[in-house]
């Protein structure tokens, strides 16, 4: 199925969870925050939050800024 991650289309397996997405993006070790269709998905819920076709996901991290 097709979802959108940080504005780009991404093909992901049917029934994948947020945790699966993080693993597919190789971000498992990094400190990131995830928003799914404008709602925060807490880290503790990544594994049991399923993604659906057309979902819009934002994955963010901290960078230098003033």
């Amino acid at each position: 199925m097709l979802i959108q991650v940080n504005g780009d289309n991404l093909e992901i397996q049917e029934g994948a969870s947020v945790a699966d997405l993080i693993a597919q993006l190789e971000l498992g070790e990094r400190r990131v925050a995830v928003e799914l269709n404008l709602e925060i998905v807490p880290r503790s819920r990544h594994a049991d939050t399923a993604l659906s076709q057309g979902d819009r996901v934002e994955v963010v991290h901290a960078i230098g800024g003033g």
């Binding site: 990094r30 901290a62 230098g64």
Partner: protein, 265 residues
């Protein structure tokens, strides 16, 4: 014990020894960032929240590995947001990123050319964020009425600009900052505009509780040396404020006694 040692900065009930807050943008690399922060003595360090580059090298060092949240109070900002909605979303993501840590720097900007705060959107965002439990340190213009409005909404710190972000023009309207400080019950920090150490000291001598800066250090030829200079300037300015300056006089007043002076004629 000196007055200085017993003079913590208190923001949202948390106590800090350093009155210098610094940003982590514009440095050459993470090592320079780390060294500058260490030289500055800052305890509160701002970071930006951005989309993770997908497909980047997973071993690439992460800012929060270098500036550990165990060692520093991380202050996520909403820099780059031009409306309340984006700023609110950014704060929500930041809180999740920082495991529930709810201290944020709210800035909602007006346009790219001036990076001047859009106070209408700032007020909207502050209202929502405070109700949601965030401790909001808010970047704003040096307008005393706007500052009062933000304070009444429950912001934990009011942070008027000295001059435009990244301009290094210093504190262009000290009178307004003074008017803001007169009535404000929460800490007033100068955020943005400071270009060199004397300007940081000046802000502190005026009675500002602290100064937040980024470009003045990152943009110096030697950021580590400027970070150290800023640390001293902030401390010197604070001590001078606490000491209370002598009154200005119109004419001279001799420091040495006149009595006993040798006289030829």
């Amino acid at each position: 014990m000196s007055e200085q040692q017993n003079d913590p900065l208190i923001i949202a009930g948390r106590s800090f020894q350093s009155r210098l807050l610094i940003g982590t943008g514009k440095y050459r690399d993470l090592e320079e960032t780390r060294l500058a922060i260490e030289a500055s003595g800052a305890e509160i360090v701002t970071v930006a929240v951005r989309r993770t580059n997908l497909g980047q090298n997973p071993d690439e060092p992460n800012l929060l590995d270098v500036i550990s949240p165990d060692k520093y109070t991380i202050l996520p900002n909403t820099a780059g947001c031009f409306n309340a909605e984006d700023a609110i979303r950014t704060c929500m993501l930041a809180r999740e990123l920082m495991d529930g840590h709810d201290l944020v720097k709210l800035e909602v900007l007006g346009d790219q050319k001036t990076l001047y705060p859009n106070v209408v959107e700032t007020i909207k965002a502050a209202d929502v964020l405070v109700r949601d439990g965030f401790k909001v340190m808010v970047y704003t213009s040096d307008d005393p009425i706007v500052a009062k409005e933000l304070e009444s909404l429950g912001c934990v710190s009011i942070m008027p600009l000295g001059s435009m972000i990244g301009s290094g023009l210093g504190i262009l309207n000290p009178h307004n900052i003074n008017v803001i400080m007169e009535d404000c019950k929460v800490p007033v920090l100068v955020d943005a505009g400071v270009g060199t150490a004397s300007e940081a000291a000046f802000a502190m001598e005026m009675g500002c509780e602290a100064v937040l800066m980024n470009s003045a250090i990152a943009g110096a030829r030697n950021p580590m040396l400027m970070a150290s200079a800023m640390r001293k300037a902030i401390e010197a300015g604070r001590e001078a404020f606490l000491a209370g300056r002598m009154p200005r006089k119109k004419y001279a007043s001799a420091s040495s006694p006149m009595e006993g002076t040798i006289v030829s004629k």
